[in-house]
């Protein structure tokens, strides 16, 4: 089992950050790698169990299922159903923690998955830096340093 963990601090209150992240269909609005997204079967994006079907800038298509959504704890958990990444049993969690000292937001993004031996480092880097950290950097640009 490969684990990836990345975290950051966003200079905006958690409610503001959460208003962006809780939208399971909203990736194209804040993540630069995502070209377009739709929820399959026209379900609402906050219906636990819904599936987002999105297209990457490079044309790849990924389908992910919403497993947990907590407005109380600022947590979103999802799994990958199909992707060109070559990962199995991929499950990820996005979580916010308020930083009461300064009205900021701690954001952490973690994932666990399996993959072919020898690809662990490449995938860990691709996901941790390419997806998670890139997302943080973009969020900072949207809502503040």
């Amino acid at each position: 089992m490969v684990k990836v963990y990345a975290s950051s601090v966003i200079e905006a209150p958690p409610d503001r950050v959460w208003s962006i992240l809780r939208d399971f269909n909203g990736l194209p609005r804040w993540h630069p790698l995502i070209e377009a997204s739709r929820i399959e079967n026209d379900e609402p994006a906050d219906k636990v169990g819904c599936i987002r079907n999105f297209t990457l800038q490079d044309g790849g298509v990924i389908r992910e299922q919403l497993l947990t959504l907590s407005d109380f704890d600022y947590v979103c958990t999802y799994s990958i159903l199909s992707s060109p990444m070559g990962v199995q049993n991929y499950q990820a969690t996005l979580r916010l923690v308020p930083v009461t000292d300064g009205g900021r937001t701690f954001v952490e993004w973690s994932a666990e998955f399996e993959c072919d031996p020898g690809r662990e480092d490449e995938l860990r880097r691709q996901i941790g830096q390419g997806v998670f950290q890139t997302g943080f950097d973009s969020l900072k640009g949207l809502v503040g340093g």
Binding site: Y5, A6, S7, S8, V9, V97, P98, V99, T100, D101, G102, R104, F106, E108, G128, Q133, F136
Partner: protein, 506 residues
């Protein structure tokens, strides 16, 4: 049921912060509300179920039990068993998470409890602000103190604080029953060097929070002369002078943790009593010496090095390009000021009393030694600086030099008066400072080492500077402890250069 949630981001790696917070009995080392803490029943502080029993600085005792501890999640949970406040069913958790983007740490501290409705708001404020937020600030301050040292080899010994984790229960060495007779210099009445008498005194077994040292080297400082003369009330006859020494711990009293028999330690602070072969004193005044710092270097350099550190880094932070005038540049503190100011990129001008001292000062980074008996030093400073003057003057001579030191200052210059070897200062004409927009400071050594954290921040930087060779100290005069009077005579007659120590035994 009131709940509190507080969180902050600390500018340090998560393992570093966890290293401080993980110790369930360590909060008296950093939390301002906690006076001292101990674990009941000889358990380890990382033994789940252990109870910490601690006294608050404001009075009152609290007992808290460790319910969960996780090194993988970097968190612990605890509850209150007894407290002088109506915090019922209080359960709290501390957790750390890494901020991978920037190497920082998220610290969350939360709790739930029951309380009488009319007191809930007050208790939420008290716990949230005076305990949690004050704790955030305290850890920040501890870490910023440590940042001065990359080595981290220095431990400041604190009475009753360091975790018992390293030692098995009961391993703290108890005092031996007997006092130890040993030689010491005793002052029975204020006066000249002749009042320093060699006698046999008794070093009692260490009490609570104390250790007994067999001293190996004792530092001689001008403040010892002031104490002997009665100019400072630090020494009240009959008493043993001296505020700086190094040695080995013989035995430790109860509630001394983090330091034990065989440890090499040093100190440079009141109370007086250093001119002795064996001494019993509070453990929390001691600094454990790193391997690279010998007993003689510590005895010769701790007080002077601490002084140089706060003069150059705190009272007036010297920066590259500054012109610095150091009085008594070939003296103990003077040589360190020359070396360190030079290393910081300053141009150092120094006053000295002889050609031999000029050569020594020059070899220690003083670019322009000025023979003050032959040349007016204020004129010399103006000549050397093309009429600009010195950005800072470090003056421990006092009465004889004060006026000219002011004359040697640049506009916006800073005169730091840190001693009065030539006699007490006249009242300062504050209005006269306007001619240069000058600043005058009179730092007091004690204020810079008032807390173990402050002392440690200074000694961290000092030991690092010694380790890297930025500065070096060596005793240039050695006298047997019994001949302290001769050492004082030589010091007062300006015969000595650099640091002087008294040697003990062999």
């Amino acid at each position: 049921m009131p709940k509190i949630f507080k969180s902050t981001v600390i500018d340090a790696a998560v393992d570093e912060v966890w290293g401080l917070l993980r110790d369930f009995n360590g909060h008296d080392r950093w939390h301002p509300a906690v006076a001292f803490s101990e674990i009941e029943g000889g358990k380890y502080p990382d033994q789940v179920g252990c109870v910490r029993n601690f006294r608050l600085r404001g009075g009152g005792t609290i007992r808290e039990q460790l319910l969960a501890l996780s090194d993988s999640a970097r968190s612990f949970t605890y509850c209150i068993l007894d407290a002088p406040l109506p915090l019922y069913d209080y359960v709290a958790s501390v957790a750390l998470k890494p901020v991978t983007d920037g190497g920082r740490t998220l610290w969350t501290w939360r709790c739930e409890f029951d309380a009488p409705a009319e007191r809930a708001a007050e208790l939420v404020r008290l716990v949230g602000e005076d305990i949690y937020e004050a704790g955030f600030a305290a850890i920040r301050s501890v870490l910023s103190g440590q940042a001065a040292s990359s080595a981290g080899t220095v431990r400041v010994a604190r009475a009753r604080s360091e975790a018992v984790a390293a030692a098995s229960p009961g391993a703290v060495v108890g005092p031996t029953a007997d006092a130890i007779s040993a030689g010491a210099i005793v002052v029975h009445e204020y006066g000249g060097p002749e009042v320093l008498r060699w006698e046999t005194v008794s070093a009692p077994p260490p009490g609570r929070g104390e250790v007994r040292l067999r001293q190996t080297a004792v530092g001689v400082n001008y403040i010892d002369v002031y104490c002997r003369e009665g100019r400072f009330d630090l020494l009240v006859p009959p008493g043993v002078p001296g505020m700086e020494a190094a040695g080995v711990v013989l035995d430790a009293g109860p509630e001394v943790y983090g330091i034990g028999p065989g440890d090499r330690v040093g100190y440079a602070c009141p109370p007086v009593g250093a001119y002795a072969e064996v001494r019993t004193m509070p453990a929390d005044l001691l600094v454990v010496l790193p391997d690279g710092v010998s007993d003689e270097v510590a005895a010769a350099g701790l007080l002077k090095g601490i002084t140089a550190e706060f003069l150059l880094h705190r009272v007036h932070p010297v920066k590259s390009g500054d012109v610095v005038l150091v009085h008594a540049a070939a003296g103990g503190v003077g040589l360190l000021l020359c070396q360190w100011a030079r290393a910081l990129g300053a141009t150092v001008i120094g006053t000295v009393g002889s050609a031999e001292k000029a050569a020594l000062a020059r070899a220690n980074g003083c670019a322009y030694p000025v023979l003050y008996r032959e040349q007016d030093f204020a004129d010399a400073v103006m000549d050397i600086t093309g009429g600009q003057g010195a950005d800072v003057v470090y003056d421990a001579v006092g009465r004889d030099t004060f006026e000219k030191s002011c004359a040697a200052l640049a506009v916006h210059g800073h005169l730091v008066s840190y001693g009065q070897a030539s006699g007490d200062l006249e009242p300062v004409d504050v209005g006269g400072l306007a001619s240069k927009s000058a600043t005058v400071s009179r730092p007091n050594y004690g204020h810079f080492i008032a807390t173990p954290q402050a002392l440690r921040a200074i000694t961290d930087r000092l030991f690092e500077a010694l380790r890297t060779g930025t500065i070096h100290v060596e005793p240039r005069q050695r006298y047997p402890l019994a001949e302290a009077a001769r050492a004082h005579r030589d010091l007062e007659s300006r015969k000595t250069m650099g640091a002087t120590i008294l040697t003990v035994g062999g």
